[in-house]
Symmetry: C2
Subunit: 305 residues, 2 copies
């Protein structure tokens, strides 16, 4: 089994992978094809059970993140987008500058949108202040942005990366049943493509000065599990997470059930590039040895139901 | 035939479309499915002719845009990404703020990456300072960002939108042959799904104070064509463009042919949401009336070759 850094070194040597900046990774040839296959197989897992597919906006409002208490919980990851000030003099100065890139970076307007750090915040914002008559289940894959400073590394920890989530909104019992069922199905899918992985109790890396208590509660109540690849020399790679948020988002976004209570929510997340990395660590970087992913996802669901 | 604003109004009323901010659009239900079908059909057009599929990084360096003379040409569209300063005091201030979104927007570090305004700049950057022995053809679909101020509108003009490009690098003759062949194939594909559209001579909206001359040359030399939907009341919707850059990018990025000359490049671009809009203007917003897109793209290629 290869370690993550060996995989990335081999992929670079083969010309399959490059970076524009730490955590901003491009893929060519068989690696780009593997991305599509993994994305499609995971979409197939998510599409079962009459889950509705959404396509999310590529920006998320600061207000939505405030409502989700994002800034208290994960401020260090925040990434936002800004455009140049819409002022002819500024544009001319940039266009005429000797180093227009530097001039542009200094001339940006105040950021007017955040870039999404996760998929499911969009869901809660779209359903805010509504009453749901029946459980809602949706899925989407989206580019998410989390700046992790010097920890950024290709495939394992992108500044930008692709995340698919399946989100459930409904009753307390329904949310936990969804989460437990998906833990088994996703583990079964990983096994079916040769990935050795374990389901472990986990906690989010909450920002200690404001949110350490949340992590402790999360662990005590067993609200978060991760599917972690068993890898050599103590390296650790979480490829999916299974999260029960209890009534936190239902309450924060005013999403209520028929009985007037806040909805309970749960989500299952897949880091697409990490699933690719798990396949590459297990099967190596020669495309001839990669597993065929077509139809495997539905078979995994069939086995585990 | 519906006008773009009628399409968007109907989609909103059906609950299929929402915006987080002007130009940042989400899709639900059949509209999200239509996105996938259109994206897949256009990917099928692009995948012919042994074109290699790439997956692009979600950020592009300021240096690459400088090399492409982007700032002289299109400064007003520029969008960049910033993260919070990696300073514990800043993070604590944001996490504790009464309005953490505002505090975060004020506490961003200098932007360290631009967000891509087009797909093909990545290609030139990846191949910079190399000699190509045979023509290179590649394709990728990527989220692109262009801030168009008050002109932003759902589907028609996103701040973020999805663009697929097919890029050719090779000889003068090869580049123009690629462009002409694709003009016919893409027009044929549009016809096959009922879209009435015309191929027209076009020019990029270069920034006048520094680059007006480029637009004039482009028109005189007939280097850019667009496929424009024939729509009522003088509205105009360009859904694809076909561009011959002559040796501009080969020269700017040091990409040479075996004879030492700069490569000639050409690209064909598809605005995925605009293709969706063209389908919706033509066939209406009721999913029962939308054309089946599976296999249509390869048929269109078959007819026109």
């Amino acid at each position: 089994m290869l370690r993550p850094e060996e995989v990335v070194r081999d992929l670079r040597a083969r010309g399959y992978l490059w970076e524009n900046a730490p955590g901003l990774t491009g893929m060519r040839g068989p690696l780009a094809t593997l991305y599509s296959s993994v994305s499609a197989a995971i979409a197939e897992i998510a599409a079962a059970d009459s889950v509705e597919t959404w396509r999310m906006p590529q920006g998320i409002s600061f207000e939505t993140l405030e409502r989700a208490q994002y800034f208290e919980s994960f401020p260090r990851w925040l990434t936002a987008a800004s455009h140049l000030r819409d002022d002819e003099a500024v544009l001319e100065r940039v266009a005429h500058a000797t180093h227009p890139g530097n001039e542009a970076a200094k001339s940006l307007d105040v950021a007017s949108t955040a870039l999404p750090p996760a998929v499911c915040y969009h869901t809660y914002a779209a359903l805010a202040n509504t009453t749901i008559d029946a459980p809602v289940m949706m899925t989407a894959e989206e580019t998410c942005w989390r700046h992790e400073g010097s920890r950024l590394s290709a495939l394992e920890r992108g500044w930008a990366f692709s995340m698919r989530e399946i989100v459930f909104l409904g009753s307390v019992v329904g949310a936990e049943a969804f989460r437990q069922k998906d833990i088994e199905e996703v583990r079964s899918f990983a096994e079916s493509i040769g990935i050795r992985a374990s389901v472990v109790l986990a906690a989010d890396p909450f920002f200690a000065p404001t949110s350490r208590g949340k992590a402790i509660l999360q662990q005590v109540k067993a609200l978060k599990h991760e599917l972690v690849v068993d890898c050599p020399d103590g390296c650790s790679l979480a490829i999916s997470s299974f999260n029960n948020h209890e009534r936190f988002f239902g309450d924060a976004f005013g999403i209520r059930l028929n009985d007037g209570q806040p909805a309970t929510t749960a989500c299952v997340a897949f880091g697409i590039e990490r699933w690719m990395l798990a396949i590459l660590m297990t099967h190596g970087t020669d495309p001839a040895n990669w597993p065929d992913l077509v139809g495997v996802a539905s078979a995994a669901r069939g086995i585990s139901i």
